[in-house]
């Protein structure tokens, strides 16, 4: 059964035999992690959906370059983090040039979260995370919510473990300060 194969075996099956089923299984295993990382970084469904699809298409195209030196998850997080940061940069440039999208109204209607309480929870989380600079937010999310080790985050962000710890502790302090008012 293809479902019982590990990540590396699925990658090999996809690359050597062009097995689309193997790719679909990789998507199923990682899509939620990718989506939630994007959603927490970007703060809304439309942007998160766009970047999630971009990440999965990139994985499809670049899977043959995977070197089996790290976990597949780490490799996928590296792509996700880079694409999210690029997306934020692009958005900033667009907003600076006055090309802001007018999709705010659509955002609420197409969201995959329908429960009002859940929406409020996520809004609260977004407001907290928004206070952190992007790089610090990325490290905080990878450590706190995606539960990756410092070594993995170091590979993903190409930052030393020491610098990561300092950045993470800084973010924790800020967030705890904000949580005092909750």
């Amino acid at each position: 059964m293809i479902e019982n194969l590990n990540d590396f075996e699925l990658v090999q099956l996809f690359i050597n035999e062009k097995n689309e089923q193997a790719f679909n299984l990789i998507v199923k295993r990682y899509q939620e992690n990718i989506y939630w990382h994007c959603r927490r970084m970007l703060g809304n469904h439309i942007d998160a959906d766009e970047v999630t699809q971009e990440v999965l298409i990139t994985i499809y195209k670049k899977l043959h370059t995977f070197k089996y030196e790290s976990k597949l998850g780490t490799w996928i997080y590296t792509i996700t983090s880079n694409l999210v940061l690029n997306y934020i940069r692009r958005k900033k440039i667009k907003s600076f040039l006055g090309f802001d999208d007018l999709t705010q109204d659509i955002k609420d209607n197409t969201d995959i979260i329908q429960d009002l309480d859940d929406k409020l929870k996520l809004e609260k989380l977004n407001n907290i995370l928004k206070t952190l600079p992007e790089k610090q937010r990325q490290i905080f999310i990878l450590r706190n919510f995606d539960e990756l080790s410092y070594e993995e985050i170091s590979q993903i962000t190409n930052t030393s473990v020491g610098a990561l710890k300092a950045s993470y502790h800084h973010a924790q302090k800020k967030i705890m300060e904000l949580m005092k008012n909750e």
């Binding site: 998507v27 199923k28 989380l125 993470y168 949580m179």
Partner: protein, 185 residues
């Protein structure tokens, strides 16, 4: 100061020795224990914010969406590469035509030679088959008799195209023998 310690302890970032010391002080100091419980509460509240129910259809449809997007991208790529190929071919044809046009109009030797051939032919018809070429442009300054056979050579000579002495001598010899034949001597 305590907060740094809490964060490190919670994050499992203390050495075994530091951890032991911290745990001892937690048990001994009630205020520290309270502060730490408060910190853990906040952490739990933060984690609680991530427990959210979502529409599972979104994730179930994701592989289909990705494959649709990929096939759209492939079609776009084919259209784009065809368009690029076509425009490149048009450009190549355009440049080849320009090049050919220029090379034809720049090739001035041919018309001049042709003109010389024509003028020599006219001279021949006016003065009979034998004409002495007294062309002052001729470098050889040799009288050459023109027969239809050598019209082309003379024309080339007029245009300063070099002919060897032997060739010229040969022409003269042939001309003289023709003259003798004609006069019947």
């Amino acid at each position: 100061m305590n907060e740094d310690l809490f964060i490190k302890y919670y994050d499992n970032d203390l050495t075994d020795e530091e951890k032991k010391l911290f745990e001892i002080s937690l048990h001994q100091n009630e205020n520290l224990m309270k502060a730490y419980s408060n910190f853990v509460d906040k952490q739990n509240k933060l984690k609680e914010l991530t427990k959210i129910n979502v529409n599972t259809a979104y994730f179930n449809n994701m592989p289909v969406k990705i494959h649709q997007k990929l096939s759209k991208e492939k079609k776009k790529f084919i259209i784009k590469s065809t368009a690029v190929g076509l425009s490149f071919s048009v450009l190549v044809i355009f440049f080849i035509s320009i090049y050919n046009y220029n090379s034809i109009s720049n090739n001035t030797n041919m018309p001049i030679i042709n003109r010389s051939i024509e003028s020599t032919k006219v001279n021949n018809s006016n003065t009979g088959n034998f004409i002495t070429n007294l062309n002052s442009n001729s470098r050889t300054k040799t009288n050459k008799v023109q027969s239809p056979k050598f019209v082309t050579y003379n024309a080339i000579e007029d245009e300063d195209i070099e002919l060897s002495e032997n060739d010229i001598d040969e022409f003269i010899d042939q001309t003289q023998s023709i003259k003798i034949l004609k006069s019947g001597k």
